[in-house]
Symmetry: C2
Subunit: 598 residues, 2 copies
Amino acid sequence: MPTYRAPVEESLFLINDVFHIDRYANLPGFADLSPDIIEATLAEAAKLCEQVIAPLNRVGDMEGCTRHDDASVTTPTGFKEAFRQLTEGGWMGISAPVEYGGQALPGVIGNIVNEFLASANLAFWMYVGLTQGAVDALIIHGSAEQKATYLPAMIAGKWTGTMNLTEPQCGTDLGMVRTKAVKQADGSYRISGTKIFTSSGEHDMAENIIHLVLARIEGAPAGTRGLSLFVVPKFILEAGGALGPRNQVSCGSIEHKMGIHGNCTCVMNFDDAAGWIVGGENHGLKAMFTMMNHSRLGVGIHGMAISEVAYQNAAAYSKERLQGRSLTGPKFPDKPADPIIVHPDVRRSLMTIRALTEGARALIVWTGLKHDIAKGSDDPAVREQAEDHLALMTPVIKGYCTDGGFTNAVLAQQMYGGHGYIAENGMEQFVRDARINQIYEGANGVQAMDLVGRKIGLDGGRPVKTFFAEVEAYLAGAAKDEGLSSYAKPMQEALRHLQQATGWLAKNGPANHDDPGAGACDYMHLFGLVAFGFMWCRMVEAARAKLPQAAGDAAQRLNAKLVTGRFYMERMLPETAMRLARIQSGSASTMALPADAF
Amino acid sequence: MPTYRAPVEESLFLINDVFHIDRYANLPGFADLSPDIIEATLAEAAKLCEQVIAPLNRVGDMEGCTRHDDASVTTPTGFKEAFRQLTEGGWMGISAPVEYGGQALPGVIGNIVNEFLASANLAFWMYVGLTQGAVDALIIHGSAEQKATYLPAMIAGKWTGTMNLTEPQCGTDLGMVRTKAVKQADGSYRISGTKIFTSSGEHDMAENIIHLVLARIEGAPAGTRGLSLFVVPKFILEAGGALGPRNQVSCGSIEHKMGIHGNCTCVMNFDDAAGWIVGGENHGLKAMFTMMNHSRLGVGIHGMAISEVAYQNAAAYSKERLQGRSLTGPKFPDKPADPIIVHPDVRRSLMTIRALTEGARALIVWTGLKHDIAKGSDDPAVREQAEDHLALMTPVIKGYCTDGGFTNAVLAQQMYGGHGYIAENGMEQFVRDARINQIYEGANGVQAMDLVGRKIGLDGGRPVKTFFAEVEAYLAGAAKDEGLSSYAKPMQEALRHLQQATGWLAKNGPANHDDPGAGACDYMHLFGLVAFGFMWCRMVEAARAKLPQAAGDAAQRLNAKLVTGRFYMERMLPETAMRLARIQSGSASTMALPADAF
């Protein structure tokens, strides 16, 4: 069975040495955040994830969730107790406001804990994550009364949350939502319709479930402009806040899925269920996007998180499994064979996973900091710049980190040979679980379209120009530094490829909208490659600065950054030219065939 | 539930128009092979696969195999009856010798039927395929008595075959086999040991199961030189050939796997089981490689086969599923949304799968013909050239077609959005089933090492030089042809990349054996890209020649070849430069870290 060790040192290196969290003492909550507190917090999270939550990962996969005849749902053995421990530890509200019982730690710390949880058990995490997403939406869009009513119990983990968007006929295209809402004399609404793919939709771990539901008020405009968001609790609350009667919402069935079996993905039936509007009428999409943007970053984190845990197990296996001899002569002549880590193709796989996982983690920490800046800085220009970064990087992180997370899980599984295909070894579960990250919260093709169709042209291209300028300036300096130039120079070429691609899309897109569409996926990957490469330069720089004072394991970890950064430049960056060439080939051959030729 | 339609026209186009099977009338069995007979044969195979075998694919996935307390195994509902229909139709012996009851059709036709069967139901196919592999090994290495004893019943499908190689401590490294054989006074042996991952190891579809087992005779040398192959029937045969007593071989358990649930992957316990040697003592590895080379080509076919069936379902879905509007304006303004095939990113996915699937099919048909030539030509020089081709292309087809088959299945699943993750839609099964092709019969890393470590240096590089010369000469001609030059020119650059990579490995490999190891996977992909590109040139040439006489659907299919070939050159070929750059970066950063840094 796979094991998991939370990479606390990796996270500390990023927040302390690469991104210097101590420079952000002006942001709310950062001043109190001493290195000791951060380390203790992460160590505590690590313990919970390693000892309590990770051991349930395979249990969840094997048992799945069970729906009973009365539409109630039982979660896998151990989930309920682990959820109790998690909520009692205050982890549900780690980044939530103190006034509702949260810990109000910066988002950048919350993201790290999010990674640990998802590495340990993605299906379990989803009960937490959906609740946190619903909390975020209520904080921003809920009325004062709604916040007071729902937030404390949700942040305490007594109640959990869900997000009900998808219907059988509509996924990406939310304008096609049919679930309807009828206004009642008391200001509430009656909600009717069927939602599918509702994660954590029904379970036995919380006293109440707070559904956020996208629906169309009778008479509202067609399309997305006519959508409103409603809060629909499983148990309607009585005047004093006690649980009252059961609402007319229930789980019709649980989906049979490729993975994340431990989470109950429900078909939810709303049958004149009582609901209360969140935000104004017809402002549902905006509120939903608050949850989705948060979720998209989270899903990107999970791509990286599964990559990490798959890597850890593959690395351990590669040092234990004896098979064949090194190409350069036996390394352990006294053993019947060498451990497979001597084989360059096994090394290539391990190094590839590391290069992409660590690049992703850095980009996520950096972006987490931007999120905190966007939320907390008192300088509007600084906030705007941080928001630009978030807008630009959200689709890159969601799309690129989850594509990489999946291919990394596959690489890790491959190292096990036939044993990777056997369920008991757990590697195939990582592959099946990682696959969902590419699909939900906007399939990666949708992320790519968001990037090329919306984000790179945003505000006259301000976000992308700012990013290019920052990377360009950094590389110009680094290219002159003897220790960094071998990293910076290939990156200068990679950045040029990204700039060329951006220019090509800007020039050709207006005349043929299919051109950006046909190049979108390649552009997203090209962007991710450059962003990760920039992160590698920053990590190498930080490692070089710290190496003279380091010894032992710490020195080895820093040295590994220099080597892995070099591997990234040599082995990953050559992909940028391929992506550029594909984009510049346009859409003609992609779109030429008539539909009935397929 | 997915459906399947065997691509008979595609196969006929390749064997008739691209590779001109009528020019091979000199080979045994080819002269009688009129186009009508081929078409009727494939149509009959298509019917069986579409109507009988494909509908059992999901049944097999859901039910799996069941081992009972008496160690007997029940296959999924319907498998037994379908197997009866298949064997009664003579398909088991399609390419087997007439003298043992086979149809003796050329291997190139057998491969096409193999594709159809695997597209329909890979897990079911394996009961057939393992038997065919054992038949091949007995034909080449068995004694006259063994052939007479076993082949007729196996070719008739009354008995099936297996291949017992892997043990818990040894997979790739067969030198570590521990299963032992002790010679008896009557010339037979007693076999003891445990084999794992034995596909089709025990089941209820045949009266007897003929196990081929790799074991070490007491006192034999260590390593692979001390291995012998034994035939170990489940029921020992009596003098007249009737089934006698049960042999001491049984299924200890069935593995729980990621996919191919319909096939029983067994742990087999041999407990002083009676066995008879096949070929000479200590010649086991050679005999096993006969089966493995056959199987490796077969596994490459299956990569392509799953790609095909996944494509068919994704293409159908993309024309039905309504979601969003075309970037160039609504195409079906009267419908609530356009079908998703209007979106360039969906098209990109469909075109990518087509380009790789059709390229793979062409390479497999071409190689199948070479197999028939190697087996049947009376010209030693022609045979040698065909054998060179087989040696070179076997790892390319196994590795590249299965890597592509998996990524294509993932692409096809992705087009379904969330619905692709739901078991009932069947797309996730294709992904899980396709995954095994990258792993078994030598994991793809082993194929890549076979290519760079053994095949490109074979006989002074004769096979690779011959291949390069053939492609180079073809492209030189095609570059001067107005209709082909736009295909040939990018291919000339791609071939140069492959030649440069080959030269780099030849130059650097001797000094640092890790260099070819670190570049092996990239080299295999680079080789595959060039081989598929050559196939696309040939297909485009044939399509252009035929187009003037074609109309309707046939013309549309030929025109699609021109467009898909262009897509291949524009979108797939840019990958060759990336592969070359990676190879030329050597192994330094890949190998630099100490093992305990992982």
